[in-house]
């Protein structure tokens, strides 16, 4: 859902430039909103491709003492949160996610630079199982 906002921004900027160009009559012969259509198409294609890569690269693994998350297309990130350091675990799911039976798991730590690790779009049962596994245990505090 949030991915649509930048697309909207780009589209409106393209439309504005389009209008300005038409006023100055630079591309006299072109049909209206050609530039907008072009930019939107390219943007959507790139977005589709990057989303695919992002999904492919987003992996997680539960080790006995830590949760490992790997993600990133251009900047590859490997993160490890020791289970002892998890403050609390949160599950969120937006309307679109609920349609597909998905939810996002957010693991909160007390770190100042890595306050949370996100696992996006897990299957609901998987997220639930992880939540119970990751939640800080009383016996382990």
């Amino acid at each position: 859902m949030a991915a649509l906002i930048p697309l909207g921004v780009v589209m409106s900027m393209a439309a504005a430039i389009d209008l300005a160009l038409r006023r100055t009559d630079t591309f006299g012969g072109l049909p209206p909103f050609m530039l907008t259509a072009l930019i939107t198409t390219i943007g959507a294609a790139v977005g589709w491709w990057v989303t695919g890569l992002r999904w492919q690269r987003w992996r997680w693994e539960l080790r006995p003492n830590a949760l490992i998350v790997e993600r990133g297309v251009i900047i590859r990130v490997w993160q490890a949160v020791p289970l002892d350091r998890i403050q609390f675990v949160e599950i969120t799911s937006g309307p679109l996610q609920r349609q597909f039976g998905l939810s996002t798991l957010v693991v909160r730590t007390a770190g100042v630079r890595t306050p949370a690790v996100h696992l996006e779009d897990l299957d609901e049962p998987v997220a639930e199982r992880l939540r119970s596994q990751l939640s800080p245990h009383e016996a382990h505090a």
Partner: protein, 487 residues
């Protein structure tokens, strides 16, 4: 909490009030408010309060401090510090005593006039979870500070028993004899509680040291550090660390050894030449972002002193020689990055100059620039070259200064271009380990290892550009200390 506070409110014996001078201090702390109130009250009086509106507005401006004073109260019990304030919006805060990170007292101008102090009790939660009690009398503040400083509660010992050394063989000033407990109360109405034996003096600066401190920090930090460390006295007795300093505003900060999250050693160019270094420690208190959240122990310690202070306060055995450099390929990446940064800067500034100056100039008179064109080109090239050279110079220095060490219980990272900062963090405060590699790093087989902790001032301790294999080794090593959870 609608049912519980009623009992507290009806029991005035428990709750303590602030000193009336708090009103003055609160008004003075907001000069704008004071000025506006003054204008309205004066204007109203001049007109004989004809419509009363000025009086109302004037009172509205000085009203809040009075209400704050009237409604503020605090209470201390075995488990927590309770504090409440407010008439319409009642605010109540209870800080469990075991969550307290540090206790700080400060004296402002009004405070000095009346012999009063402000006490700030901070937890790790940041600004919304600290309690500021003030103004209260010097003796009360002193007593509360002693009582609230985290750590084992001190029973008044019949005989002064020196605390056993926390980390054996960790004497900072060698064989200096134990000094007398620091002098406190000017008005000795309540005798100060018994003090454990003073063990270490990290710094004891006089006014005459201020120019030296300023010289070492020549640059933007100069004034700040010189004022913060004016008359600095940093001591440890038992597990408590206390610093006292200040020129206009006297500040006393106190914490315990177990709350220390890391140690910082900072060395400027002049410090390296004159053989000194700045040593500070940090707690997890997130309320003071940047300079104020760290306890400055000594701005002009002899170079190399950090090793013994680190072993004394955080138990590290890392020494200067243990620090190893990052991968040699890192220098290449820094050089390439510097070129990119210079080009980006030149594009942005160049574009700005072209858009705001060159285009209007040419639009006004296309021939005007004729003979000046070469001058403009040369000027732009010189600026670009200077920028590039500075960045390359810094890239080399940063590479040379970037060193790290890992011992079984600590991580140490040194970095910096002109001034270097060395950070020693206990591995127990690790919150997350991140290994990051962007496109260029991957091409050179490099990665960045970041160790996140709870202290804003220390931030993420990052080892930039080690080889892939070393990054994997470091990450595994950093995680190995954490216990597995039974399935």
């Amino acid at each position: 909490m609608p049912d519980e506070p009623m009992r507290d409110d009806t029991d005035p014996g428990d709750w303590e009030r602030l000193h009336p001078a708090t009103i003055l201090s609160l008004i003075a702390s907001n000069a704008t408010r004071l000025f506006i109130a003054f204008l309205f009250l004066l204007g109203g009086a001049g007109r004989g309060w004809r419509d009363g509106l000025d009086l109302i507005i004037g009172v509205l401006f000085i009203g809040p401090p009075v209400v704050t004073y009237m409604t503020s109260r605090y209470r201390l019990d075995a488990a927590a510090v309770h504090w409440q304030r407010g008439l319409l919006f009642r605010q109540r805060r209870d800080l469990p005593r075991n969550q307290i990170q540090s206790v700080e007292t400060s004296i402002g101008l009004i405070g000095r006039l009346f012999g009063l102090e402000t006490l700030t009790i901070s937890t790790a939660g940041g600004g919304s979870s600290e309690i500021v009690i003030g103004l209260i009398s010097h003796d009360t503040a002193h007593r509360l500070r002693i009582q609230l400083t985290p750590g084992p509660v001190l029973a008044p010992p019949p005989v002064a028993v020196p605390a056993p050394p926390f980390y054996p063989g960790a004497s900072v000033d060698g064989s200096s004899p134990p000094l007398a407990p620091p002098p406190f109360a000017s008005s000795a109405q309540a005798p100060p509680p018994p003090q454990p034996e003073l063990e270490h003096v990290y710094a004891q600066l006089r006014g005459g040291d201020a120019p030296r401190v300023a010289l070492v920090n020549l640059g933007p930090r100069m004034i700040g550090v010189a004022v913060r460390s004016y008359g600095l006295k940093a001591i440890r007795f038992g597990d408590r660390i206390r610093t006292t300093s200040g020129l206009v505003r006297l500040e006393t900060r106190e914490t315990t050894r177990e709350r220390i999250q890391g140690l910082e050693r900072r060395q400027s160019l002049i410090a390296r030449r004159t053989g000194t270094e700045e040593i500070a420690v940090d707690t997890a208190d997130a309320s003071g972002v940047g300079a104020t959240s760290s306890l400055l122990l000594n701005p002009i310690a002899p170079a190399g002193r950090w090793e013994s202070v680190a072993s004394d306060l955080v138990g590290s055995v890392i020494a200067e020689d243990d620090l190893v450099p990052v991968a040699p390929a890192a220098l290449r990446r820094r050089r390439v990055r510097a070129v990119f940064q210079s080009t980006a800067t030149a594009t942005i500034y160049g574009g700005y100059v072209v858009a705001t100056w060159l285009i209007p100039q040419l639009a006004a008179d296309p021939d005007d620039l004729g003979d000046r064109r070469s001058m403009v080109t040369v000027g732009a090239l010189v600026l670009f070259a200077l920028d590039l050279l500075t960045r390359q110079w810094c890239a080399g220095r940063r590479h040379r200064h970037h060193r790290y060490a890992l011992d079984p219980h600590h991580v140490a990272v040194q970095q910096g271009c002109v001034a270097t900062t060395l950070t020693v963090v206990p591995r127990t405060s690790t919150q997350a380990v991140t290994v990051r590699a962007n496109y260029f790093q991957r091409r050179l087989g490099l990665a960045t290892v970041a160790v996140d902790n709870t202290t804003l001032a220390l931030g993420a301790v990052a080892i930039v550009d080690v080889t892939d294999a070393e990054a994997r080794r470091l990450a595994a090593e950093l995680l190995s200390g954490f216990v597995s959870r039974p399935a």
